[in-house]
Symmetry: C2
Subunit: 410 residues, 2 copies
């Protein structure tokens, strides 16, 4: 029976998957001072990667530095990683690490900082061009197999990068934004201290909530087969984000709301939700990546714009999962499993929620006009396409499909 695929009566495949996630998760308000203890288990010379400077302004950087130094670790700094991290920053970080013989990388920042730190950790041990490691066209020229040990200390609840093996990097020269996924990129430790997120402003908190919710909806709506547990897990995280997200936005010092949102962000993309769902793709992310490669908007804001428009497109073709979403998230009662009115009503409510927490839901709100929509569609397909030239998704998307979604989001 080896290797055969199994079909149940409805014709849907039975779950087949592998899962392993070796990251050690340390979760708790006030846990930042344990960074040195964690780092000391993996190295003596740390490259400390940071972003735009907020960690320095609010003192988090100094506290992290103290913890590392108290543990006898030498620290070399790579600061200034951009919100959409660039391959040039990866090269710069790898050069600093090499010059100082770093044996460890510590990321202190948001998803961009963590993503850059992961790819730096692999680039230090790779003699070729680090851009080789990033997927473009139909492959990555070099999937990394080794990396320095890396510790992730997120200061924003959003990407979930702290407990997965993926990163997204932009190429400022080619205007490409794409991903790498490799087992060697799992952080050794994810040190989650929700206290570090209390200073995140309302808009960035909202974009983070949208980011984590979109990670969930991507696997939920693009999954194939019968995955009842993963569906329930996905719905549980969405419901939790909708309950605690507004609390964290209303009162940034609500440490419990901050903790729940941070935990939601981590489980949204650590494999617990999508193991076995055999996701057909991440269309909303792929389209958003192109838009933000052109306009450098915050990823979470871009997702808030693209996702509802994509959902309305996909629901017309595969309504049943959207009906389930409307019923279980918003308590609607459908007339049938394919009740498109119910499906669309659920999407309307989802979009209203995004608006209610302050997310944009149209490109125009970000000052982006419709002029380049055909270009975004072409560029998206240049980065990733299946053997028929379509964007992997449920359903697969032609260039015209992408254009129609972007026009609806204009």
């Amino acid at each position: 029976m080896d290797g055969e695929s199994y079909l149940i009566e409805s014709g849907e495949p039975i779950m087949q998957f592998e899962y392993q996630n070796p990251t050690r998760l340390v979760f708790g308000a006030g846990s930042l001072p344990r960074l040195g203890e964690m780092a000391g288990q993996y190295g003596k010379r740390a490259l400390l990667v940071t972003g735009g400077g907020s960690v320095k302004r609010i003192g988090t950087f100094d506290r992290a530095l103290k913890s590392l130094k108290d543990a006898g670790i030498s620290v070399f700094e790579c600061e200034g990683v951009e919100p959409n991290p660039r391959i040039s920053s990866v090269k710069r970080g790898a050069a600093i690490a090499r010059a100082n013989e770093c044996d460890l990388v510590v990321a202190l920042g948001g998803g961009s900082t963590m993503d850059a730190a992961k790819v730096i950790a692999a680039a230090v041990l790779y003699d070729g061009d680090p851009w080789d490691m990033i997927f473009h066209g139909q492959a990555a020229p070099h999937i990394p197999t080794q990396a320095l040990p890396m510790i992730a200390v997120p200061t924003l609840a959003a990407t979930g990068s702290e407990m997965n093996c993926s990163a997204v990097i932009s190429n400022e020269e080619t205007k490409e934004k794409s991903f790498v996924s490799a087992n060697c990129l799992y952080p050794k430790v994810a040190l989650l201290d929700p206290e570090l997120t209390v200073s995140v402003p309302k808009d960035q908190t909202a974009y983070g909530v949208c980011d984590l919710m979109t990670h969930i909806t991507e696997s939920y709506f693009n999954g194939v087969g019968d995955t009842p547990i993963q569906d329930r897990f996905a719905e549980g995280v969405i419901l939790t984000a909708m309950e605690y997200g507004p609390k964290a936005i209303a009162n940034g010092n609500d440490l419990n709301a901050r903790a729940q949102i941070q935990w939601a962000a981590t489980v949204a993309l650590n494999g617990w939700i999508n193991s076995g769902s055999g996701g057909a793709g991440y269309p909303v992310h792929m389209i958003e990546h192109t838009v933000s490669a052109y306009h450098d908007i915050t990823h979470g804001a871009g997702l808030a714009i693209i996702n509802p428009a994509w959902m309305r497109f996909a629901a017309q073709i595969n309504p049943s999962k959207f009906v389930q979403f409307a019923e279980r998230i918003f308590g609607f009662s459908a007339n049938s499993p394919d009740d498109i009115e119910c499906a669309l009503a659920g999407i309307d409510r989802f979009e209203s929620f995004l608006k209610s927490i302050g997310c944009p839901t149209h490109l125009s709100e970000m000052g982006i006009d419709a002029q380049l929509i055909e270009t975004y569609a072409k560029e998206t397909l240049r980065i990733i396409h299946d053997e028929n030239g379509r964007l992997p998704a449920l359903p697969p998307m032609t260039e015209a499909d992408i254009v129609s979604v972007l026009r609806a989001a204009a």
Copy 2:
């Protein structure tokens, strides 16, 4: 702020936890023939641990043996592990492994076989009495720090032992049944092939469903603090078990139902549900362990008897979580967060579900009379008690409390 505990306004602690689970999960119908490939990564001389013989009757044993031998692995057998695995079987298995210089342990069977195999893997590398590793009184004399690599191939969806670091072992001489938990006991690989479970008879399938549901309810009702995501995950697994359990019982060959139940059993006890919930204890398991140490009943059947009675006891003191359970699992509407009538109605429905799938819900149905109830209570507290001599749980239980629960379950 290090080490302080954080309190939110309601007085509940904010989640603080660590999580790491290194087990590689390989899930899919038809995956048994991959056993040799997996095992070959860890050793050349495998101790193959099995239970009562069903794996031989239905050919699973021969298929596993072939896969191992095809991969060039020598196999030494330890068969006949009991349903409530005994420390004498552990000693016997360790002796076979030592005599044959095994460098790997493979468990092919249910929870008992996997639990025995874990402790055998540690006992091979420990010169003392293996019973030292099992918790009794207020500690285990020796918590193991090393073990041979172990691969778990479950043939029954029940305990979730395949993806955690715990085992339960009985001491036939002292009539004690207790646990060991240690990082070195995580299986290297959990190879889950739902096809291996299609031959499990209806009653054992039902007991397995009860076992996995009880793992969930233990952490759900004994958890402390605000854990909204874990609550939703727990409810999702319960709902899935209630949907697919009856299908697997009605038609043992329903491979999708078998797959969903097996996946439910794994996630019920691999840490995904209870990370952060800071569980106060596992009272239903602890009481059941004593009863089955005396009467050698199937663990899942014993849990079906104790759990509803315990739930009614605990709901009187902490009704709110039971109200949430009644609302989210059975769709009830409570008059208040502490609506005890609603809480009890939910427990009645839960008990009815257990009956509907063929589980016993009273000791008398297993031919066990009330004569030794005081003894079971005393023995339970002899195995485990807090500093006040009570059974760790929410609320902590005195000897009289345990007696009252057992009387209600008589």
